[in-house]
Subunit: 154 residues, 2 copies
């Protein structure tokens, strides 16, 4: 298993933050994700729920689908998913299904997070895959872009 080194985590989370800004540009809640495979981004995604009228168009799902397409396999091996916000139940389930070996997220989601905040799908020993999970990378920036978005809309 070839994973990125921990030292690169901030670099890739900045790419995920770029994706979050792309969501904001069309009025969607700013959440972004990238999948990194052997030091290259092979999948990008940002929240497009409103833009595409699609309840499943979360950053992680879009990035994982793109990564699987790039690899030509539903198994997204030897890769790390970077996402600005803790994954929800759907996205955590997609992570398990994709077999991606590592997940790094920025800010926690106390309302719907499924990597420990509300549910913990990613650590569930009854499911058939458990990724390594690292939290809190650029958490302040990842949280700030969300807070600013909701403040501006009030």
């Amino acid at each position: 298993m070839e994973l990125v080194t921990q030292g690169d985590d901030e670099r890739w989370m900045r790419e995920a933050l770029e994706e979050a800004r792309a969501a904001e540009a069309h009025g969607d809640v700013p959440i972004g994700a990238v999948v990194v495979h052997r030091d290259h981004v092979i999948g990008r995604g940002h929240n497009e729920r409103e833009e595409r009228s699609d309840p499943t168009a979360h950053a992680e799902v879009t990035a994982l689908r793109a990564a699987a397409a790039a690899l030509g396999s539903w198994r997204v091996l030897d890769s790390t998913l970077y996402v600005t916000l803790e994954p929800c139940a759907m996205c955590a389930g997609a992570i398990v299904l994709s077999r991606i070996p590592r997940v790094v997220y920025g800010a926690p989601d106390p309302k719907a997070g499924a990597a420990g905040s509300v549910l913990d799908v990613l650590a569930d020993t009854r499911l058939n895959h458990r990724p390594i999970v690292d939290a809190g990378v650029l958490a302040d920036e990842c949280g700030a872009i969300l807070r600013e978005f909701f403040t501006a809309r009030r």
Copy 2:
């Protein structure tokens, strides 16, 4: 909220079983789903994980995306999702996100079911939507098509 009457459940589950057979036709595990809105199917889906090399191409996700596209909204209101197998964590999460008011499934999934068997995402009072869930409609047929698929592959 206009939902189908309980008496129609078998009729719509037969449509979901047709979708399951479409999955089997290309070698994917036979699971199918339909979304019914005011007595019409507005979304169909079947498992295409292998066919499309997409870890998220489960029957429910595809059917919900199609239904949202048909309604022009990520909220899949006034509708029922029929699926031949108990939803996994990803699909249960997608159900919650879509706000669909009712889910009917056929066979239970003791290995990965997230509507009570392993997790119970659909009944979690901490999440912001809880659909009505009815289980066991045509459970024997829904389970048999899966057992036959796996027996034939052994």
